[in-house]
């Protein structure tokens, strides 16, 4: 079996410029597969009535989460929306913790107190998933302001959908970040639909994020959001800019969600053939081809797939066996003293 070094030499000889390198590529692939498997499992568990409440899947959008997460350094901060499972998993939060929260079990990331839309894991830099559209863009600005004020080198990354570009907080945050030159990256996942309505039907410009960039003195950046390499490279440029003190970036990633908006949505509003066309550009399919192009064999890919599948299977069983949250956490952590007392 060829070693990584052999493959690198072969690529150099063939003129293929591998700026990303095998280790990062394998990380990009594995991250996407973790998201795919966990999200698919969440959907299956929903069909079994084991995922309660609502859930918003990122099936088909894995490359954006993976591309950014792999480009991040420890200490960088992620701010997500209710469609945040992918970004949470991409930062290394265990699958069991995420599925446990979706299943509202005591082993969940927040022990069932937050639910699918509010995944948070500070130890992994996941500073929350926000279910009010646009709310977290200004919040990410604040975290970036702290970094700027303290001279910290971390960057705040804020992920949101195309629908967010039409709410006031988006525009307030973009202007604020640009004026204060904050180390923040705004990442729009343009999956073509705000919820059920095509984004183009309700937006004055063809590219909901990129076409607004000029209004805030920012570069117009559009990237193929189904190609993890393209996302990773674009992310790196934005991280370098932010860390150098040169301010924010707004990046529009073109992608597509394979499922509906939420679990309640069968996505019947989509024109016939659209989903199939996008599935030909499935980010994981694209990335398997990429790995092969760089000399990674089927066997190595299958090994990753099997490892991830086992992690998700084990997590599923652990969650099924986990108890529901105990009642005594009902009134904890309303206030910083750990309790909920509002009077003496």
């Amino acid at each position: 079996m060829a070693t990584a070094k052999d493959r690198a030499q072969a690529q150099a000889a063939s003129g293929v410029n591998d700026d990303i390198g095998e280790a990062k590529r394998l990380e990009l692939y594995r991250t996407q597969v973790v998201i795919r498997e966990a999200e698919q499992r969440a959907f299956d568990l929903f069909l079994q009535n084991l995922v309660k409440g609502t859930s918003h899947l990122s099936l088909g959008q894995e490359a954006v989460a993976a591309g950014f997460a792999v480009a991040m350094k420890p200490g960088d901060l992620s701010f997500c929306t209710y469609r945040g499972h992918a970004h949470t998993l991409a930062r290394g939060v265990p699958v069991e913790k995420v599925l446990g929260e979706l299943m509202q079990r005591d082993n969940g990331l927040m022990r069932g107190k937050g639910g699918s839309m509010h995944l948070t894991s500070e130890e992994h830099g996941v500073m929350g998933s926000y279910a009010i559209i646009g709310a977290h863009l200004p919040i990410a600005c604040g975290a970036a302001w702290r970094a700027q004020y303290k001279g910290d080198k971390d960057v705040s990354v804020c992920f949101f959908g195309d629908g967010t570009t039409n709410i006031g907080a988006f525009h307030e945050a973009l202007n604020f970040a640009a004026v204060w030159k904050l180390p923040v990256i705004f990442v729009c996942e343009n999956n073509l639909y705000m919820e059920y309505t095509p984004i183009g039907d309700v937006t004055a410009v063809p590219h909901p994020a990129a076409d607004r960039a000029a209004a805030y003195g920012l570069e117009r950046i559009i990237v193929d959001g189904n190609d993890a390499d393209a996302v990773y490279r674009t992310a790196q440029v934005a991280f370098d800019k932010a860390r150098a003190g040169n301010g924010p970036s707004l990046i529009e990633c073109l992608t597509y969600r394979h499922s509906g908006h939420s679990r309640a949505d069968p996505a019947k509003y989509r024109p016939e053939g659209e989903l199939e066309k996008w599935k030909e550009r499935d980010p994981i399919k694209i990335y398997k081809e990429r790995l092969k192009q760089f000399g990674i064999g089927d066997e190595a890919i299958a090994k990753i797939d099997a490892e991830v599948r086992k992690v998700v299977d084990d997590a599923t069983e652990a969650c099924k066996a986990a108890p529901v949250p105990p009642l005594d956490i009902l009134t904890t952590d309303v206030y910083a003293d750990g309790g909920w007392a509002w009077r003496n």
């Binding site: 646009g134 709310a135 604040g142 970094a147």
Partner: protein, 326 residues
């Protein structure tokens, strides 16, 4: 001791905390170079510099969101929302973000920040720049809500708010900015969740907040001198946490309860307190609790109209007198 205005107390309170802790930063519209539209932040920019005292665009969501992100990651921001009426354009942060993140994250996230805001009527600004909205905030689990009535309390409660690990909404009353009071020298740090008996009395308890405190005190003087009624005036100061013990023990002594509220009648803070007293001190009462409020209308601009809708010392005197059968 020195006599200073409520406005200058705000400046002194912020400066005291910024001097103490480099993590305290301050942002808002026109607060830095211009010193604030109410001149309640004059000199802070010059004293603490452009990195710590920052002018923002007219973007209330950005102001509060940025304060939250900074608070979550280690700073202790003070954010100004110029008029409390503007809470309506950034209420997501007040209602959904600040107070819920700790709970939803099962205790992972923190949000130690202060939102200062100009609250209340008396300036003839009309319905969108005059409201008393402390009750909008009181109803939200996870927030703390404070409204000082005098310069010393401004400094002490602001210091307590900045040092508090929870999000605190700090209501400054616009009509109190020019009022003066004696303030001790040196550092002043008070405690949230403490009401203060500002005038002892045996015949009736009058609860008041912010601008209504001097009005309740004026009414109490008239009740004593002209009608022989000794009213106890309690400055509630902090709606959350609420010092129910001070209130209940006052009612146990006087057997009568009056609330003086600037907020419109429905769901004002007095309604909650009356409900607590009815639940827990019903048999201490010699008569029904009475709420003295602004009527359930938007505030008018004209001076004669605005004056008549706000509780006045005369209306307080009249109501207490009538209720006590004098």
């Amino acid at each position: 001791m020195a006599e200073i205005t409520y406005r200058d107390a705000v400046i002194r309170g912020i400066a005291q905390e910024m001097q103490r802790d480099n993590d305290v930063v301050f942002l808002g519209e026109d607060v830095a170079k211009a010193g604030g539209v109410f001149k309640a932040t004059v000199g802070l920019y010059e004293q603490f510099g452009p990195l710590r005292v920052r002018d923002t665009p007219i973007s209330e969501q950005a102001i509060l969101g940025a304060a939250m992100g900074a608070a979550m990651t280690g700073l202790k921001p003070i954010a100004e929302i110029m008029f409390s009426d503007f809470f309506a354009v950034c209420f997501d942060y007040i209602a959904n973000e600040f107070p819920k993140s700790r709970y939803m994250s099962n205790g992972q996230t923190k949000c130690p920040l202060v939102v200062r805001t100009g609250n209340g009527a008396g300036s003839r600004f009309g319905a969108q720049h005059s409201q008393s909205i402390e009750n909008w905030c009181m109803m939200i689990p996870g927030l703390k809500v404070v409204a000082p009535s005098n310069p010393t309390d401004v400094i002490g409660l602001l210091a307590a708010a900045v040092r508090d690990p929870d999000p605190v909404i700090f209501f400054e009353h616009k009509s109190l900015y020019p009022t003066k009071g004696e303030v001790p020298d040196g550092e002043i740090v008070d405690r949230l969740g403490t009401a203060k008996i500002v005038r002892p009395g045996k015949d009736a308890t009058i609860l008041a907040l912010a601008l209504m405190v001097p009005r309740a005190l004026a009414a109490a003087e008239t009740l004593a001198s002209e009608h022989g009624i000794e009213a106890e005036v309690v400055d509630v100061r902090s709606l959350v946490p609420l010092d129910t013990q001070t209130i209940l023990s006052s009612v146990a002594r006087t057997h009568r309860l009056f609330t003086v509220e600037e907020n419109p009648r429905l769901c004002g803070w007095g309604a909650e307190i009356v409900s607590i007293v009815a639940d827990e001190a019903f048999y201490d009462l010699d008569g029904p609790p009475v709420r003295i409020t602004t009527p359930h209308i938007p505030l008018p601009a004209a001076d004669n109209l605005e004056d008549i809708v706000l509780p006045t010392p005369a209306r307080i005197v009249e109501t207490v007198k009538r209720s006590l059968g004098c």
